[in-house]
């Protein structure tokens, strides 16, 4: 029972990070309809940028804020250089451009930072487990979760209450109507990419604290895809719930299934579960069901 609770809690805590990255993904999709397959590489970039700041002697929190700033710049740049020109192109081409971007980013990351596993030195969070009432949790997970939740709340508030956030919501809801009300769609797309870069970057930095930073962070970033599909592609709460579900699933399967199917079942289960889940709920939990007519 304790083992079960333990993996459950760890799952929820890691799921918080996935939820953060998934939120960035859903924002892009909602605002501009782009299915972004480069999300894994965005987390990778974030992780390495934070590491670089941190190793330059900047405190971790400031390093994270620095990563956010770099994320804004990179997000705007990416949108302006690559995706801006693709508005109105067939959706498959746009998806493939994000794939091209993912190769580009990955290649650049490997070129700049190499492929060795790096860790945050000195460690940011203590090693001594924290007692939360009935269980002991590693502080890395707990603090990452708290930071992820804080950022999630900030992003959601931004989305709900600020002028820019509202214009993003309007564009996501009905682009033509938003344009007629004077919302700049180009700005909204750029802002969506900036937010995606920021959330993925911080997610990458947090994931990097758990297992060290190498290329496999990119794979963890890819795990947001089952998360967003589980929640429904165009639902922000769905992304958050989906992220947490994926985190839980991953840890529970790591605990219980690994003895029956040794070797990497943890990485596969989210995808397998999602494939089966879609058979029963083809639009995820809260995705918009599109009623089609000829």
């Amino acid at each position: 029972m304790e083992l079960f609770l333990m993996s459950l809690i760890t799952g929820i805590l890691v799921g918080g990070i996935y939820a953060l990255v998934a939120l960035g993904w859903v924002l892009i999709y909602k605002c501009s309809g782009v299915l972004n397959l480069a999300m894994g590489e965005l987390t990778l970039i974030g992780a390495y940028v934070t590491l670089t700041f941190y190793q330059a002697g900047i405190p971790f929190i400031l390093a994270v804020i620095g990563t956010l700033l770099v994320g804004i710049v990179l997000g705007f740049l990416t949108e302006r250089v690559f995706l801006d020109k693709l508005i109105g192109e067939p959706i498959l081409a746009v998806i493939m451009v994000t794939v091209g971007l993912s190769f580009f980013f990955k290649g650049m990351v490997e070129f700049i930072w190499g492929t060795d596993t790096r860790v945050f030195e000195p460690p940011i969070f203590g090693i001594k487990p924290i007692d939360i009432g009935f269980l002991k949790v590693s502080p890395v997970y707990l603090w990452s979760f708290i930071l992820a939740i804080v950022l999630l709340v900030i992003f959601v508030c931004f989305f709900k209450y600020t002028r820019w956030g509202l214009s993003m919501q309007a564009t996501a809801d009905d682009e033509t109507a938003a344009l007629s009300l004077g919302v700049s769609a180009r700005f909204v797309y750029a802002a969506a990419w900036a937010i995606a870069f920021m959330s993925a970057g911080v997610g990458g930095a947090l994931l990097g604290n758990i297992n060290g930073i190498n290329i496999s962070i990119g794979y963890l970033g890819l795990l947001v895809l089952p998360a967003v599909v589980l929640g429904g592609l165009n639902s922000v709460p769905g992304a958050i719930v989906g992220g947490i579900i994926i985190g839980i699933l991953q840890n529970l399967s790591g605990t219980y299934l690994d003895q029956y199917f040794p070797g990497g079942v943890k990485e596969i289960v989210p995808f397998a579960f999602m494939a089966v889940f879609l058979l029963f709920k083809p639009y995820g939990l809260w995705g918009w069901e599109r009623i089609e007519r000829v």
């Binding site: 299915l35 081409a93 091209g100 089952p226 599909v229």
Partner: protein, 366 residues
């Protein structure tokens, strides 16, 4: 065949002529020239390096044809095609290595050809299994289920379980002489090239004919509007699964061919990268045309080789460049895809069509 251009005053008297592939004397001449180049020119006249590059083009084209069928003709976006190629490759290898062939078969060199066919069928069935969600799921959600196929098949089942069969460790290797078709042992650039050329030609013929028969028309109808297709009485689930089967079959054969090319096999040959690469191939070549798959393969493989050539002279001055080449290659490839999609969104086959039209209508191209 309405898209065949005939010279003014040329007309057909029989339906058979109208349905024929090679309708005018010019087309016949052109195709025979092409076949001569493919079967004689490249393998006999070019040095070995270029032959092996051409083999790579053919292997890419085999995979890309299946992807083209799914994405370009049926509208089912797949990002896990490498999984089915891998299934084919492993089926073929295991059959050749583990199956207790009676001496009759091995003497006649039938083991490998049979394994190619079986590989195609197994990969097809495996592909149908992952195509099942397509009955309900559409668009982006389907992309994710095909991605699941990639990770479940290659990263889990093949790496963890299938690779253990026979206790050879991670990588399988085929001893020389096991890959044998009839009296010919498939080894060396030229023989592998010929095998590739024959398989690719057969595949192109099979696919072109499928596409102009009932299933092909049904696939195109599903791609253009699946609800309308259903209203026309097309069983869309059946035809979608058939598309998955045929694409998987092609992929399986491509995988079985790959075994003869490398004589070794490991799950690393079929990464997710390769699935994405194949989609990139058809997007660059042009979606919805067989030409597209082939032009795309030629272009992508040549770009990669070209990058290699560009780096080798530079490496004398910057030794680090050679070490980091793999990374730069990835980055450059990504940029190339982006640039191509931004500046030539219709793909190479559209350009080809324009050039052809220009000459067909020459000198009055208006």
């Amino acid at each position: 065949m309405s898209n065949v251009w005939l010279p003014c005053g040329d007309y057909h008297q029989y339906y058979e002529e109208d349905q024929g592939w090679w309708q005018s004397r010019f087309i016949k001449f052109k195709m025979i020239l092409l076949l001569l180049i493919v079967f004689v020119g490249i393998p006999q006249l070019l040095p070995g390096y270029f032959v092996s590059v051409a083999t790579m083009v053919g292997y890419t084209a085999m995979g890309a044809l299946g992807v083209q069928l799914l994405i370009g003709y049926t509208g089912l976006v797949t990002l896990g095609h490498a999984a089915f190629i891998a299934v084919g490759a492993y089926t073929s290898t295991l059959l050749v290595l583990q199956f207790p062939w009676p001496p009759f078969f091995t003497d006649l060199g039938l083991a490998y050809p049979i394994s190619i066919l079986v590989a195609g069928i197994v990969a097809g069935i495996w592909s149908v299994l992952f195509g099942l969600p397509s009955a309900k799921v559409k668009g982006f959600y389907l992309i994710l289920t095909t991605m699941a196929a990639q990770f479940i098949t290659v990263d889990f089942i093949l790496t963890q379980y299938i690779s253990q069969i026979g206790g050879r460790g991670q990588a399988f290797s085929l001893p020389p002489g096991t890959i044998k078709i009839g009296p010919w042992v498939i080894e060396g650039d030229v023989k592998i090239y010929y095998l590739m050329a024959v398989i690719t030609t057969l595949m192109v013929i099979a696919m072109a004919n499928l596409l102009r028969s009932k299933p092909g028309r049904a696939w195109v109808a599903i791609r253009d509007n699946d609800i309308a297709a259903e209203a026309l009485g097309i069983n869309i689930v059946r035809y979608k699964l058939l598309a998955f089967f045929v694409a998987g079959f092609f992929a399986g054969i491509a995988g079985a061919f790959w075994v003869s090319n490398t004589a070794a096999l490991s799950p690393e040959h079929f990464p997710w990268f390769w699935s994405l690469w194949l989609v990139g191939v058809i997007l660059i070549g042009g979606v919805g045309s067989i030409h597209g798959a082939i032009f795309g393969s030629i272009f992508m493989v040549l770009v990669m080789e070209g990058l290699q050539w560009a780096v080798i002279p530079l490496s004398a001055y910057y030794p680090k460049l050679l070490i980091d080449f793999a990374y730069i290659k990835d980055a450059a490839f990504g940029l190339a895809i982006c640039a191509f999609l931004i500046y030539e969104p219709n793909g190479l086959s559209y350009r080809w069509w324009q050039i052809k039209n220009y000459f067909n209508l020459w000198p009055f191209s208006y």
